[in-house]
Structures are given as structure tokens and as C-alpha cells.
Subunit: 255 residues, 2 copies
């Protein structure tokens, strides 16, 4: 490790997680990027300022959970997306799509990058380019899946899907049946497009059926993963059907 490695980077998860953008940068690139960047900590319920969005339209989540919130005229609020460690956010061409407010759901460490240096790194470092590209396409698919969840699933099914989504995005060892829920119930409700009351009832329902165990508000344990998966896949049969992935019976016509 180079002695020139910036201090703030040497402690950052973006640098230590092998799957992250910064981890693929050379020390020189890291120094260059860092020289034009700055870490900032945002407390819960605080927003990323307009100024930051303008001056540093490219940023990366180092830790915590950042939400993108939409507000309707009459006060209804929605968490349209949640961003977690390693996610890159490029606001440069978000002007046409009006993007909502960026609000921290817990203490967030944000690395505000220089667009110019970021672009340079993308241009010159193929590995970094691939990782950034992968992160963005991943975010796209995640958003699309989330939209699919919201479109047709019932409350219980949405909650089941959410549990799997969180488990998949968690950095910890996969396969662990303990799932850490990093946000409040009310935020969870807003993300899933439902009311806190309904979320509460659904947790109770799943626990009552012995599918999960809710120890703490922020930790649940999956007791019956296949059953949970069936619910998240929209299987409403009482005893549940088979637990394979839904098959798409479709015509097939290119090739």
C-alpha cells in the first residue's frame, strides 16, 4: 500500500470491499480522485444539500442508507429507492427526470467525487469502468424489480420480497438466516408503498406462521426460507406450491 494512500480512503469501505469502484483504482488514481473529493456525514432525516448535488453530482455511498424520496402535493411521501454502501450516484443527467430529495435513513457517510476525475478514472481504468457500469446496471435492475414488486404484489408478498432484497444486498456472509433491517418500520412502509400499520400486521402474520422470528426491531431471523420465497413469488395456495422460480411460458421467435 502506497504511503500516499489518502487517509480518508484507507478507512473507507469503498476501498476495502473488493467489489467496489475505489478498490479497483491504482494508488495514483485514488490520490487524484481524493484530491478533488470529500467525505461528508449526514445524520438521519437530513438531506444531501442542493449545493452538494450541484458541486458534486457524482457521489458514492461509503456507509449507511440513503433514500431517494418523492413527495406528492398532498403530503404523501414515497421512498423511491434506497442506496447502500458501494452504490454510485450520478446526478449529471438527472435534470430531465425530476429526481426527488436525497435523505439519509440513518447515519450516512457519503463520498463526494469530482466528476472530472471520476470520468478520467472510468476512461483509463477498465476494471473501474466495469465495476461502475456493473453497479449502475445493477441499480437499474434493482429498481425494475422493485417496481415489479410494487405493481402487483400484495402487502405480505412485498414484505417477503423486501426481506430477500435486503439479505441479498447485505455485505455479510450470504446464506445467513439472520437479516439486519437497517431502516425504521415507517421508512420500510414508505419504500414498499404501504402504511406502517400494515407492515406491522404483516410481520406479525409471518411470525405467527413460524416463517420468521422477529427478535429486535432491526433483526429478523428466517426460519422457513422456502415458504418465505413462495410468498414473495406470489404463491397464494395455502400449503404453497413448488418452490422453483416462476417459469415464463412464452412464445419464442428470434434466433
Amino acid at each position: 500500500m502506497s504511503p500516499h494512500l489518502p487517509e480518508q480512503c484507507s478507512h473507507c469501505s469503498m476501498y476495502f470491499d473488493a467489489e467496489n469502484f475505489c478498490a479497483k483504482l491504482s494508488d495514483d488514481e485514488l490520490v487524484a480522485l481524493n484530491a478533488q473529493s470529500s467525505l461528508v456525514t449526514i445524520k438521519r432525516d437530513e438531506a444531501v444539500t442542493e449545493e452538494t448535488q450541484k458541486l458534486h453530482p457524482v457521489m458514492a455511498i461509503s456507509s449507511g442508507v440513503l433514500s431517494l424520496q418523492h413527495l406528492l402535493h398532498d403530503g404523501r411521501k414515497t421512498i423511491a429507492a434506497i442506496l447502500m454502501r458501494g452504490d454510485i450516484l450520478d446526478l449529471r443527467n438527472s435534470t430531465r427526470n425530476q429526481l426527488g430529495a436525497l435523505i439519509a435513513l440513518n447515519s450516512v457517510t457519503l463520498c463526494r467525487l469530482s466528476p472530472v476525475v471520476f470520468d478520467a478514472a472510468i476512461a483509463e481504468n477498465p476494471q473501474a469502468r466495469m465495476l461502475a457500469w456493473a453497479n449502475i446496471t445493477d441499480q437499474t435492475f434493482r429498481a425494475i424489480n422493485h417496481a415489479a414488486d410494487l405493481a402487483k404484489k400484495q402487502a405480505l408478498e412485498k414484505l417477503a420480497s423486501f426481506i430477500f432484497e435486503i439479505r441479498n444486498r447485505d455485505v455479510r456472509v450470504p446464506g445467513n438466516d439472520h437479516v439486519h433491517i437497517p431502516i425504521r418500520r415507517r421508512d420500510l412502509a414508505e419504500y414498499l408503498g404501504m402504511q406502517p400499520e400494515t407492515v406491522s400486521r404483516c410481520f406479525k402474520d409471518l411470525a405467527g406462521r413460524g416463517i420468521i422470528h422477529v427478535s429486535d426491531l432491526s433483526v429478523i431471523r428466517i426460519l422457513n426460507a422456502p415458504a418465505l420465497r413462495r410468498i414473495s413469488n406470489g404463491d397464494r395456495s395455502p400449503k404453497g406450491g413448488r418452490l422453483d422460480v416462476p417459469s415464463f411460458n412464452v412464445l419464442v421467435a428470434d434466433a
Copy 2:
């Protein structure tokens, strides 16, 4: 224009639309990309084959509307995303997120690219890189906005938002109050997470209030854009539809 310009590219919207990836490629790059690529036409209700997805995980929509569909166990179907001309689809790291079926909603012309040559173009051509990046981030924000629409909006509001989404994505002259709806009512319903019956009732409602005029099933005309905007922004104030105050209520980001 080089005499070597591939025949199929010379007629393709991806090449002629200035905002598109292929338009930024040099003739040489276009020839190289084309040598490893192939156009295919998919008829309505047909799917992009598994084989294509495997062999050509990177593709671009040249014309038509392609949908990404999710199917639940009990048959509920959702259109999670719609892809239109110019959209780039990179399936290479879609394995972790199970992506649904890619199904044409009308006649789709798809350009199946070579990942290798695509990456090379991205690496060497800054303009092409920026455009590809912009397209993907755009898709991400679109998906997020769509998720926000589905989460908390009511049927009428979702339909209003959809009308604006389609108008914004349309290549034709902006500002035109005629909006062409390129998909069937039932597909629209699946995209918005509602029933065809409800879509029908909502169109009737908007027309009845004098906000839109539905001439043909596939063409509507916006008669009162501010009112439509208010509805899409969730303004439920008393006469949410009348021509009273022509306020320029853009969606509030924060505050």
C-alpha cells in the same frame, strides 16, 4: 458517409438519432461493431430467446417497444419496465437479480451487439461512452420514478404520470399535445399495476373532465396540461381538474 457503412446501420434509428449510441461511433467502429452484431425483428407477444440473451447479452432497441415482464406463481403478470428506441440493455450481470422475460409489445427491431466490440467502443470513444452511460443512468431514474408512481399514487394519478412519461420519451417534437400510446390498454394496465377495467374508467374520467381527448385508442390529445400535471403530482384539491388556476406546479423535489 463512408462507403463501408453497414447497410443495416444506415437505416437504423440508433444511427440517425443524434442522441443515440451508434450515432457517436466512427464509421470504422460502426463497421467493427456491426460485423459481430445482428438485427432481428420480434413480433408482438414474442420473447427474446434465451439463446439471444446468452449469445448477445448486450442489445439495443432500434424500434418498437420491448417489455420486461415478471410473472407470479398464480398467474399475475407485471410489466416491470418498457424499453424504447435507443435504450441499451446489458444483461451481463443480471444473473443475481432474476430478470423476467423480455417480450415485445409491438413489432420490435432489436440490434444484438457483440459485448466485446461494445466494450471496446465504450473504452475508446468518449462520446459513445458518455451516451451509453447517460442512457443507463436515465433508465435507472426512469425505473425509480416508475417505482415511486406505483408506490403511492392512485389509479388516476398513475395514468396521468404515464401520459407524461410517454410524451417525454417520445422522439417527436416536444410540446406537442398529441401523445401516441404505443401499447395496448391491457399492457398499459400491467405496466401501471392496475386492471384494464380501471384504466378504461380512468381514461373516461379524464376525458369527462375535459383534460384529455381520446380520439383513437392509440392517440390522445392533452387539452389541459396543467390540470393533468396537478393530478399526476397527487394534488387532490377539490376540483382537481378544472381550468381554474393554471399554476406551474412542477414536482416538488424538497421543501
